[in-house]
Amino acid sequence: MFFKQLNAVWNKELRDALRDKRAMKVAFLPPIYMVVFFALGIGLAIHFQNNEEQDTQLHVAGQDAALTAWLTEKNIHLKPSPDDPYAAVEQGEVDYVLVLEREVATPGSKEPRSATLVYNASNQRVHGPVGQVRQLLYQYNSMEAGINILARGLSPKLINPIRVREANVASEQQMGGLILGGVPLLLLMCAMMGSVGFSADMTAGERERQSLEPLLINPVPSLTLMLGKWLAAVALTLAVVLLCLLLMSIALYFLPFDKMGLRVSVSAGAMLGIFVSLIPIAAIAASLQLLLGIFSRSFKDAQTYMSILIVLPMVPFFLVITNPGIYQPWHLWVPMLGHQTVLRELLLGQGVTPIAFVAFILSALPVTLLGLWLAAKQMRRAKVIYG
């Protein structure tokens, strides 16, 4: 009898949902535009980064043939400066200018020459290129000093007691991970919000159209009713998640990550892993949606209450994105916190411990069951039926 009734409820809810054009749109359109905006954003980021790396432009006033020749050699694109470099920078006509000596130095002179970098520090755009030019100037400085000291029979090492080097240890895939940090968030939001419209209709909708009372007059335990509704909501959420994953795979395949020197390739196995780890999230989401929905008098109320749920995946996202080394094994047991790390690792083609999946399922169980039990209890209250 239990399975017969459960079957009846979830079949009916699924059929009802598939015929609900409004809720179908609310469910299946967001993944499409979320992925499109994501792809556009990443595409633009790659585009800009490429342009920046290609040429740094430098307006130069004054003369210093040796320095300018060396800068050109270092891929700096030199341009003549406006007449009054200070005013030009102040007024924003140019971002920064390198002001050198006006007169050509007499060959062989060892007098120090001045080189002034004129920029406006409040202009966010200049920090990258100005830093690069500054770095090159120091380099040139120490190079010429080395030559001078060599001419006097001393080792150039003397003037560079400390040799400063920088080594960026981020691997290509990890750099990709930084850019892909938003993908887990996007997928979690899909799983969290996929069936909001349907859940609202199954709970607040029943109240609104006064079908809850006749429904409850049937000899069906309210937990069976909730379970049937929950199954339908989970199935619909997983359909939304599947669409989201499919679109995301296409986007990741076509985005020109190689131009950035990144290797992003997500295997079918990794996608399957991602899908499986999102199932517990769908379970939690459907349960919480139904619980919030049964408290709501109308469909609109329900949607308002349920919008709170979108915040849940954002908390771990900001936590992890601002503290990259924060991961601890116990995170796996906190729904969505562990997902942030595990989904990212799967996207980067790294192996994931199978314990993660066990942890996801086991940690989702109590939340899901508690939500369903509370919702079922609520449903029979006279205030809910007749309120």
Binding site: K4, K12, R209, I217
Partner: protein, 244 residues
Amino acid sequence: MIEIEQVSKSFGRVQALNNVSMTIGDGEIVGLLGLNGAGKTTLMRMIYGLIAPSSGHIRVDGVDATMEAEKVRQKLGVLPDGAGLYKRLTARENIAYFARLQGMSENDIRQSSDRLIEILRMENIADRYSDGFSLGERMKTALARAIIHHPQHVLLDEPTNGLDVITTRAVRALLRQLKSEGRSVLFSSHLMYEVENLCDRVLIIAGGQLVAGGRIEDVLQAAGCSSLEDAFVTLSQGESEHVF
């Protein structure tokens, strides 16, 4: 048999029902009369166990409606006050959904709904989404949905609301047939001729109390009136005088 024993119900300070007792026997059609807010709907809701009485007992075939509500609901077919349909399901699907929840087999569902669709003249709406239904069409669907599973006891809250004459007659015929099958019917109504035509007994509730009950002739005689309407008005307004 439905037995109601000294049932009272209060919502906060409002006393909705006060010490009401009655029985509805098998093979009997009983009309429940009362002004708006008299407590008819509250009484019905307590029988199908969605509201618990503050005191007293309700038993359906000996089963307590509060303690074993689920068991009681298996015996009942109810057309409640607000009987909403699922607007994206057809009339037939709406009926079948509740039949499945009652545990009927697909074969029984088909036969039973075909029969009800014929009796209630629903052929033209049976396979339409209930979204655009008129009040009468909604009522017919909800009524069919309520009695699809051949319940032993049928509770109807104003079942002929919004029905046209022909359908009203069909509903009356249906109720008489239920009676002849030995089932009990309790229905509330505002329409005196409806009650006069159909009921074996009437119960009149006023101010949360049962003020009269019995065969129509008895009620008329007790109230000293010649028409049920006069008797009803007299009894509903003079609450102090109890007539049985």
